[in-house]
Homo-oligomer: 143 residues x 2
Amino acid sequence: MPRIKLLQGSPDEIEAAYYDALARADLEALMMLWADDEEIVCIHPGAARLVGHIAIRNTWEEILARGGLHIQPRQLHATHTMTTAIHNVIEDVRHAENTMPEVHIIATNVYLKTAQGWRIVAHHASVAPGPAPAEPIAETMLH
Amino acid sequence: MPRIKLLQGSPDEIEAAYYDALARADLEALMMLWADDEEIVCIHPGAARLVGHIAIRNTWEEILARGGLHIQPRQLHATHTMTTAIHNVIEDVRHAENTMPEVHIIATNVYLKTAQGWRIVAHHASVAPGPAPAEPIAETMLH
């Protein structure tokens, strides 16, 4: 997909571009999706928080050096306003071994409409016990 | 503090009212701070997500039945717009035993300006390893 199109997309498109950049281990594409704001926050599952572009970039660089992360965001719950989108998703992480996961990952992704377009201002992921809960009604409605 | 004042406060005041309601184990005051929106999300540390008023209320009711939670939000990083406030804090939880904590809690709190005033739409808390990091400069500037 042409980068310019992604960068002018809706919050849903920016979110798709985010997970796409992770899958491709494309650090530059990933970092362009974040707001130009030193108060941006990124929290990886079970980790301390990272604040600002340098800390966030450095950590993603380390993670993506090991290869792409194949994550399917599912079961979206969203609150949208004209200038804000607050998304909460279950991050379905595809592992090499196809075992029943004993934990699942929850992520809150917050997007603001900036002068440059919709951008990520916060990504907060955490580990929850057990497999991801089923949400049959929401799945049917949203996907 | 009179409830009406808190309910018309700024995001910072709503956040203060939130932690105050937890300390007093005041479920009604706590739930009044949430947006009137079934997409509101609450994630307790290490737990699965809760979506909507009923699930969030029921879980807080169970937690607060054991007594108030004395939490001091520290090291605020915030992004504010006219209608949105995204706060990230370290939740300093006061335990009975004054031991050096082996973990700390990070929370993302998102507030929207609704017709009723500023309200919480998302609370995402997670556990991070080690004691809370020191942020001397931010501490000096913000507190």
